[in-house]
């Protein structure tokens, strides 16, 4: 009996995922406010169904009361948070909200399967982050001061990144973690947001050479500090984000070309200088040959993805513990292994749809500061996903970045939730503009009609 339920639910889960993804992609066509609300309810319903199925499988396998309690806790969290978001921010983008909670939900479930304690920790952090982030959209859309604080951003950013030198500890060969009261905290994740604010505030008004020089030097400082901390994934993200923001701000290719050139030179130098860069590249080119060394992670990840097939082995049916770092970077492989290739591809599509939404919002914004902000955050977000999934599938060398909202990692969750919240704030700004225009029009129309 249990087996029938488990097997049936496996296929139902995949079907629900496909439906969710399709509706997500369809959200890009024209929709009225009503339809959007209905789409949102539909997505939420799908999400809750999937949540139920996953937790059912978890419960059937573990038979513990704590998993039930956790399920109820998650449900209450979703209920309260969704309610708050929808009612405090009536005009917020519902697709963004639903996607964010959907991803969080997936993260909770997969982590529960991997390690219950971690899942609970992740949950607590998520709750705190979401509650904190409720303040962010209102700050972003109302506080005019934000565009002026470039120096503040610069200082805070550098301080965050540099803090690991002062209070850092070494994890997986990268010294980019700081321990605060027993919680491991990765300042580079938060620094990412501050960095984008910094670059946006510096570059939105004028982009004369002097300004660019100053900004670039400071940005370079960020990147170099990260390299010194051997957090190469973050360094690459910061670098790529900056180059893109520079391109958008200056409208010319010349800085981009210069940046790319410098970047390639730096990469080549890095390859020569750093042993573990060489090992990563060697592992990428021939993981089988390097099986006992740097290639082990990639090999196990590929085994997982390949053996998972299209429909997965089933939750609890695989051997995800064979994959190293399976709770953060390689969680994508775990999903591909147990929930299947179709599921993993749908997940990728959902991430892509969030990115497209971010970009559309940035296209709509009229104020340059906010525009740059949106672009920067979108690029940072999608590039991180590219590095993560690309590294895990051997498309590019593995760089040690996490999958946003699903990987275990407090700072990662917090920073991604804040990114989503900032984008919401920008969306609200835009909606406000449109509403005001609408209001005026309606006013005039009524007057005209007499």
């Amino acid at each position: 009996m249990t087996n029938i339920i488990t097997q049936l639910s496996k296929y139902i889960l995949i079907l629900l995922m496909v439906i969710y993804t399709i509706r997500c992609c369809l959200a890009f066509r024209t929709m009225s406010q009503r339809r959007r609300r209905r789409a949102f309810s539909g997505q939420t319903a799908l999400m809750l169904m999937m949540h139920f199925i996953l937790n059912l499988q978890i419960f059937l396998h573990t038979m513990t009361v704590s998993s039930l309690i956790f399920y109820v806790a998650q449900l209450s969290f979703f209920g309260v948070a969704l309610f708050l978001y929808r009612n405090i921010y009536r005009d917020a983008s519902v697709m963004l909200i639903s996607n964010m909670f959907f991803l969080l939900m997936l993260g909770f479930c997969i982590l529960t399967r991997l390690d219950f304690t971690l899942a609970v920790k992740q949950f607590v952090i998520a709750v705190v982050s979401v509650m904190l982030s409720l303040f962010v959209p209102v700050i972003v859309s109302k506080v005019r001061l934000l565009s002026h604080l470039s120096i503040v951003y610069g200082v805070i950013g550098i301080a965050l990144v540099a803090s690991v030198f002062v209070a850092g500890k070494n994890v997986y060969g990268a010294t980019n973690w700081v321990s605060i009261g027993g919680l491991a905290f990765q300042p580079s994740e938060l620094a990412k947001i501050v960095f984008v604010f910094f670059a946006a505030s510096m570059l939105y008004k004028k982009t004369d050479t002097r300004r660019i020089m100053i900004t670039t030097v400071i940005a370079g400082g960020f990147v170099l500090l990260l390299v010194a901390e051997t957090d190469l994934g973050a360094a690459v993200i910061f670098f790529a984000t900056y180059i893109c923001m520079l391109y958008v701000a200056t409208h010319t290719f010349k800085w981009t070309a210069l940046g790319l050139g410098l970047g390639s030179a730096a990469a080549a130098a890095g390859y020569r200088l750093f042993g573990h860069v060489r090992r990563r590249v060697a592992a990428w080119k021939d993981p089988w040959g390097n099986y006992d060394d740097a290639g082990y992670q990639i090999c196990q990840s590929l085994f997982a993805i390949a053996t998972g097939g299209w429909f997965g082995l089933g939750l609890y049916e695989g051997l995800p513990d064979k994959i190293p770092v399976n709770k953060s970077d390689f969680i994508f492989s775990v999903i591909a292994e147990e929930l299947g290739g179709v599921f993993a591809l749908c997940l990728l599509l959902i991430y892509i749809s969030c990115f497209i939404m971010f970009i559309n919002i940035s296209l709509q914004l009229t104020n340059n500061f906010y525009k740059l902000l949106a672009v920067g955050l979108s690029i940072a977000y999608i590039f991180q996903i590219f590095l993560c999934v690309g590294g895990v599938t051997k498309f590019i060398p593995h760089t040690g970045v996490t999958l946003p909202l699903i990987s275990y990692g407090g700072s990662s969750i917090l920073s991604t939730v804040i990114v989503f919240a900032v984008i919401q704030g920008l969306y609200l700004l835009k909606q406000k503009e449109v509403k005001l225009l609408e209001e005026k029009e309606r006013e005039l129309y009524r007057q005209e009609q007499g």
Binding site: I4, Q7, L8, Y11, F28, T30, S32, Q33, R34, R36, K205, K206, Y247, V248, H251, W288, Y291, C299, F303, I305, A306, T307, G309, W310, L313, E317, G318, L319, G341, L348, L349, Y351, F355, I356, I359, N360, I361, L363, Q364, T366, N367, N368, K371, V375, S378, I382, F386, V389, T393, K394, F395, L429, E433, L436, L437, E438, K440, R442, L444, Y445
Partner: protein, 591 residues
């Protein structure tokens, strides 16, 4: 439904107008249509940004053309649907002109700054779009790569022996059967009384090495086709049903190229001896038989495994056909002959007066001799005669003519020191001769002694290529993979490894190999219903008996089978290995 109707009937027209505008708005938002696009139409109009009545009036009454298809692309429609807002980049709002003290760009409350900064919006937007396309291309690249990996590359990845997940697959599927080319079951999953499955090998030790085992010491076809055997390719609906019912689906069956009768003959000939036999089909590369002795009973391996491993002397688990390296002896003369021909010498012109031995300088500086077998004096011999009678003196002489470097070059062209590309893992044959080596060492190497070592599979491949006009076909053991219902999942087809002998070299070698049987050391193959051809080899091995080799093929003029017979710790090849080859030919060609 009801609520949607509400929009159109219950609200007043103003709201309807607003709604349409909003939906256009949404269209723009979600389809990314650039609201700037409408700048192109009326370049002379200007837009004020203080929304007082006059301004709104103004923009509502501007006449604009609709888009080419009659549909307004963007812009706000006014209530009478005739006009459209137009916005032009006002010069005053270009980036360079803004007074930097006056941060007129920050949005304030009220509707006065909606279109501020729009001057650059178009350009900025196109850049943003470009960037987003680049990023999307990257991500879709990853997605496509993943799909491609799953379709094309994953089979080899899954089949990797390091993959612990293979055993997980086996939990859902009943391991498929392995069959011979003539339909005999060589390995199957049988159900024990308690319902669990165990692996049963009906032919016991006859196919021990080539079919291999799966429960312990994964080897042979069980390892090479592991993924196929634990994958079930029956109809997906049936699989899902089985999944749900909790039943294990039947795995795919693998049909090998092995001929069960030939294999049994081979194993029978090796019984009580040590050695290996490989039989190939020269025109396709199919492995017809592969036997190795000493062997073991795969049915009892799970229980015997520990004791076998504990016995350091035991070679039973080793597939000597593919993994065993042996001194080739006179069969190496095939290589030496090829080296002679490739040096540009004329085969017809060679002549040597054999006195039973040849004296050559050694590494230490003194003179030592290389003798023919039993000191036999062959007298005046040509190349064919030297080959047919396996004259060591003559060939040592040829070694001096050809020289070390050419010998090494040709050996490597004939796949020595190279990893062989076959279904079953094989050791690399070794050829090690340096330019600094003495004439005696060169001579010894030329007759197949010295540091040279070869696997029986490699030897069979060489003779198979010579039989097939110089074209070596890639040896393969897995012929077809079928699903449990008999449908074909995958079929192998013969593939060309390479033309390792030229056609004329192959012709010469074939002629000489025929002479081996008709007038030389292979005389025991005379008097058969077919004409056989080949080469014998009796290699001296320090501390034990000779390696007795025979490599050959039959029928000589239309080869259907090429064999390599190796007997370790044995006597003279002509009396031991050759008759075995004869039995193999009889078995295969006789029926």
């Amino acid at each position: 439904m009801k609520r949607r109707k509400e929009n159109f009937t219950d609200r007043n027209r103003a709201d309807k107008h607003i709604f349409r505008k909003q939906s256009l708005d949404d269209t723009r938002q979600f389809e990314g249509i650039d609201p700037d696009d409408y700048q192109e139409d009326s370049p002379d109009e200007e837009m004020h940004f203080d929304f007082d009545e006059s301004d709104v009036e103004k923009f509502r009454h501007q006449n604009l053309d609709d888009g080419p298809d009659g549909r307004t692309r963007t812009g706000y429609r006014s209530a009478d649907s005739r006009t459209r807002v137009n916005v032009k980049p006002d010069r005053a709002y270009r980036k360079q002109d803004i007074d930097e003290n006056e941060d007129t760009r920050s949005p304030r409350g009220g509707g006065d700054t909606v279109f501020f900064g729009i001057a650059n919006k178009k350009k900025t937007n196109s850049e943003i779009r470009r960037l987003s396309y680049v990023m999307l291309a990257l991500i879709f690249g990853v997605a496509v790569y993943m799909v491609y990996f799953k379709i094309a590359g994953s089979r080899n990845v899954v089949n990797n022996p390091n993959n612990a997940l293979l055993s997980k697959l086996e939990e859902k599927v009943v391991r498929g059967s392995i069959l011979s080319a003539d339909g005999e079951i060589l390995a199957k999953s049988s159900q024990a009384d308690d319902g669990s499955y165990y692996r049963y090998y009906p032919y016991s030790s006859a196919f021990a090495h080539v079919v291999g085992t799966s429960a312990v010491n994964k080897s042979g076809v069980e390892q090479a086709a592991d993924y196929d055997l634990v994958t079930s390719n029956i109809s997906p609906a049936q699989k899902v049903l089985n999944d749900i019912k909790g039943e294990r689906s039947p795995g795919n069956n693998v049909i090998t190229t092995l001929d069960s009768k030939l294999q049994q003959t081979a194993v029978g000939q090796l019984s009580g001896r040590k050695g290996a036999i490989v039989a190939l089909d020269p025109s396709t590369g199919k492995v017809l038989a592969m036997a190795s002795a000493p062997d073991y009973d795969p049915n009892t391996l799970p229980s015997n495994y520990k004791s076998i491993l504990a016995d350091k002397e035991s070679k039973v688990l080793l597939n000597q056909a593919t993994q065993g390296l042996f001194t080739p002896g006179s069969i190496f003369k095939l290589v030496t002959t090829t080296a002679y021909l490739r040096s540009g010498h004329d085969a017809e012109k060679y002549s040597y007066d054999c006195q039973g031995s040849i004296s050559l300088k050694t590494d230490e500086g003194d003179i030592k001799s290389i003798s023919c077998y039993n000191g036999e004096v062959h007298g005046q011999v040509g190349l064919t005669g030297s080959f047919a009678h396996s004259c060591n003196a003559s060939y040592a002489n040829i070694g001096q003519i050809v020289k070390a470097e050419k010998l090494r070059q040709v050996s490597e062209e004939l796949l020595f020191n190279k990893k062989l590309d076959t279904d079953l893992a094989a050791e690399k044959s070794v050829f090690d001769l340096r330019d600094s080596d003495s004439p005696w060492t060169v001579g010894a190497t030329a007759i197949g002694q010295g540091r040279t070592q070869i696997t029986p599979l490699h030897a069979a491949m060489l003779v198979s290529a010579a039989a097939n006009k110089g074209m070596l076909m890639k040896p393969y053991v897995i012929d077809k993979v079928e699903n449990a219902q008999g449908g074909t999942v995958r079929e192998a087809s013969p593939s060309e490894y390479g033309q390792i002998f030229s056609k004329s070299e192959a012709r010469t070698l074939r002629k000489m190999m025929k002479a081996v049987v008709s007038e030389g050391t292979g005389y025991r193959l005379q008097g058969k219903a077919y004409t056989a051809a080949g080469k014998t080899g009796t290699a001296e091995v320090a501390g034990q008996g000779n390696n007795a080799w025979f490599v050959g093929f039959a029928p000589a003029d239309d080869p259907k089978i090429a064999v390599c017979v190796l007997l370790e710790d044995s006597g003279n090849a002509g009396s031991t290995a050759v008759p075995i080859a004869g039995k193999l030919f009889d078995s295969y060609l006789g029926n």
